[in-house]
């Protein structure tokens, strides 16, 4: 779309610890990106931008090498080329960290002169990314990235860098990120963010990790190859023809012989289902015809009739040789260690009661809420995807970091979680304090819109239009259209006309989860949150029961 930020990956709420950096004051994130592009003190791989302070930090490291922290009001932008471990075309833009040749010989550092005197050096070719001993393609070699080798007998050799799946696809195209937008029969694809002509549930925001961009063919649901909804009202969806990459696919992690998670990496030899049926061979079409064939799923090890999970099911499964049972799950021994048996205790048992609210800062919260204030699903604590982190059960054994439940392992102000949205690292959770009261009685029927009380907020107060003009610490707010004492171009009545930035009233133009804020008239404090009470709820609101549901879902 032509923005300088298109070449960056954006993550809200992330901060990198002590990388080599430079600090600037810029008016916008685009300006900060330009600082990164023109940084000459080091290779800028990422930048941090805080909109309220308009602080710009250009960074030499990115999330691949630096420690990541949670932080509010900060957005991390990482240059895509430094995150990719794959190449596009000849790989002249490749900036990954592969550092050995296709034969496994370690590469020589580009800045070294032994064992080989290089023709291509960082000094002579400063724009070629000749860092460390990473494979690069400074001479536009048609065979792709290469390096000088540490073997005196071999001056240079090419490296095995997989394709980024922009012009071709590996496996079943689960990671295809190309721009083909027509189906096999030539129909134009419908945009994923459109509901016309076909309404559907594959909304980009619900599948943030699947890159459902524009109307490009994608494979978000375990099909044999990428597909799309079509613009033909008579054809809801169709497969696309994407050529297969000629280079080998990325080396997968070693398979397991036991079950971990959903068992997508299970490579054992169990071939009997949980009910005792023998598995049908994947390459056979009898007794059950199917599309989960080795040809359609070349990277899923659909060998013999072993139980596998090639398509995102909840555990390994197979088609069965029993004509009446098309397919069944398999029972695979778990890789996880068994928890020690709880010793018997004398006396009456006490049922554990979990509240769906939190007390104090929520460190003791042990409920099962797993959604954030903005409705995002929480990432499981034992998962490193999409966000790598160190908040694991092993590191925080007393924090009850189970499943993807909201928790507060680090004594933050309330329970939170990492989110499954790759662009938002973490958020506070959709939980109320246990001591919040809702006692005001309003004699109006439920679906009626209530007269809003202007000096209270609902949710994060994004719609607040009251007249509170002091911060929580008693500082007077600065007028939004003023530049003194704090100059700011980001949040002004001109730039955010819809946000109601009137006078010096507290507002929330950036949807801050902590509520309305303002710049202050205190020269020592650029901005601060305001203390505005929450609006009392109506007595009866649609969809809200007075008695808590059991919610005994079998998901």
């Amino acid at each position: 779309q032509g923005s300088i930020l298109d070449s960056y990956v954006r993550t809200e709420g992330a901060w990198l610890l002590n990388p080599k950096k430079q600090t600037y004051k810029t008016n916008s994130k685009e300006e900060c990106a330009e600082r990164c592009e023109t940084e000459n003190k080091f290779t800028c791989r990422a930048f941090l931008f805080t909109s309220k302070d308009q602080q710009c930090l250009t960074l030499a490291e990115n999330t691949k090498t630096a420690v990541i922290f949670r932080r509010t009001n900060a957005v991390l932008y990482e240059k895509r080329i430094y995150l990719l471990e794959c190449k596009k075309g000849k790989g002249t833009d490749y900036r990954g960290t592969e550092a050995k040749t296709q034969k496994g010989v370690p590469c020589q550092k580009w800045a070294d002169n032994t064992p080989h005197k290089p023709n291509y050096t960082p000094q002579k070719h400063p724009d070629a990314g000749l860092e460390e001993n990473y494979c690069r393609n400074p001479d536009n070699d048609g065979k792709g990235p290469w390096c000088y080798t540490t073997d005196p007998a071999t001056r240079f050799d090419y490296c095995n860098i997989p394709e980024c799946e922009v012009e071709c696809m590996h496996c079943s195209g689960e990671n295809y990120h190309g721009v083909v937008a027509t189906t096999a029969s030539g129909l134009e694809c419908q945009r994923w963010d459109s509901q016309q002509p076909h309404s559907h549930g594959y909304l980009p925001e619900n599948f943030p990790e699947k890159d459902l961009k524009m109307n490009y063919c994608r494979n978000p649901d375990g099909e044999p190859r990428p597909w799309c909804f079509t613009t033909n009202p008579n054809k809801r969806w169709e497969f696309c023809d994407i050529p297969r990459c000629t280079t080998p696919p990325p080396v997968p992690a070693p398979g397991r012989q036991c079950l971990s998670g959903r068992g997508e990496d299970y490579r054992g030899k169990v071939s009997v289902t949980e009910s005792g049926n023998t598995c049908q061979h994947w390459s056979a079409q009898f007794p059950h015809r199917h599309a989960r064939t080795p040809e359609n799923y070349p990277c899923k090890s659909l060998e013999e009739n072993y139980c596998r999970n090639p398509d995102g099911e909840k555990m390994p499964w197979c088609y069965t040789t029993n004509r009446t049972a098309r397919w069944e799950y398999c029972t695979i021994p778990s890789c996880d260690e068994k928890e020690p048996d709880t010793p018997a205790v004398d006396g009456p048992e006490q049922a554990q009661i979990t509240e769906e609210c939190y007390r104090g800062n929520g460190v003791s919260y042990r409920g099962t809420t797993s959604f954030t204030v903005t409705g995002k699903k929480c990432q499981a604590w034992n998962s490193m995807s999409p966000h790598r982190h160190n908040k694991t059960a092993e590191q925080f054994p007393n924090a009850d970091l189970k499943q993807n439940y909201c928790r507060n392992p680090d004594a933050d102000s309330r329970p939170w979680c990492y989110t499954t949205d790759p662009g938002v690292r973490w958020e506070y959770c959709d939980l109320k304090r246990c001591d919040d009261h809702a006692q005001i009685t309003l004699p109006k029927p439920p679906q009626t819109t209530l007269e809003p009380n202007p000096d209270c907020i609902n949710g994060n107060g994004k719609d607040y239009h009251g007249t509170v003009a002091k911060t929580a610490r008693g500082r007077t707010c600065q007028d939004w259209s003023s530049q003194t004492p704090h100059s700011h171009d980001y949040f002004t009545p001109m730039t955010h006309p819809e946000a109601g930035l009137d006078k010096n009233y507290c507002r929330n133009p950036d949807g801050d989860v902590n509520g309305p804020w303002c710049y202050t008239t205190d020269p020592r404090k650029a901005w601060e949150y305001c203390d505005i009470p929450k609006c009392p709820p109506a007595q009866y609101e649609c969809g809200k029961s007075k008695f808590k549901q059991k919610l005994c879902a079998q998901r």
Binding site: G201, L203, R326, Y329, Y540, K544, S545, L551, C552, R555
Partner: protein, 230 residues
């Protein structure tokens, strides 16, 4: 409701029981306004006379002996004009909104579910021997995108675009006969929104055969028009 569990009493205050003139429960429904109930059109096949039906609200047990129970006659029936399995009932007098009787929220017009929402169905219908007979039961499961649900191994193209599927792929829990007309509700932040009207299925709780529900968001204009004009 097959499997699932008996709900906490009055925790689904928009659930109504549609009864014959002899007070026998035969279908579910949902209170969407103090004087309007949403149900399935096929629940109204027995008779086109409003007097053939009664609506019970505020109950937990099918026997309906609790003091919280409210009973209303039906003033008028409105079936969807293009034969979708959805209908509106206007009550002769509005229900009293209290802790036991509260309307559900309706979705925005043409809102789509992305498949990651928590959705629940409730009813006093057939439990297929899974227990809880006579009490309002509930169960929860994900919505399944029509593309998946229409695969040959699922419902093989039977699901239309104005319908949605929901259930567990490996079966085990589902709505069933007697739950028809009742709500499929999904949690949106802190409130429940009705996205489906229980409509049909191939058996109940069978593997690869999820339940099918009428997609309420497709009928918001019709619902609004009927309510405003009546």
């Amino acid at each position: 409701i097959v499997a699932g569990c008996i709900s906490h009493p009055h925790s689904w205050p928009w659930q109504i029981s549609l009864r014959t003139s002899f007070d026998m429960h035969f279908c579910g429904g949902t209170l969407i306004d103090p004087q309007w109930v949403l149900t399935a059109a096929h629940c109204l096949e027995k008779s086109s006379r409003p007097s053939a039906y009664k609506v019970y609200l505020g109950l937990h047990k099918e026997r309906a002996l609790e003091p919280s129970v409210q009973k209303r006659d039906v003033e008028k029936l409105f079936k969807e004009p293009h034969r979708a399995d959805i209908a509106l009932l206007k009550l002769r007098s509005p229900a009293v909104i209290n802790n036991y009787v509260i309307p559900v929220c309706l979705p925005k017009e043409n809102a789509v579910l992305g498949g990651r929402e928590e959705c629940y169905v409730t009813g006093w219908g057939d439990t297929k021997g899974t227990g809880g007979d006579g009490y309002l039961k509930e169960t929860g499961f994900p919505v399944i995108e029509n593309k998946i649900c229409n695969r040959p191994e699922f419902l093989n193209g039977r699901v239309k675009k104005h319908e949605l599927c929901a259930g567990n792929i490996h079966g085990g829990t589902d709505s069933c006969q007697g739950d028809s007309g009742g709500p499929l509700v999904c949690l949106d932040q802190d409130k429940f929104v009705q996205h489906g009207v229980t409509s049909w299925g191939l058996g109940c709780a069978q593997p690869m055969k999820p339940g099918v529900y009428v997609r309420v968001s497709n009928y918001i204009p019709w619902i609004k028009s009927i309510m405003e004009n009546n």
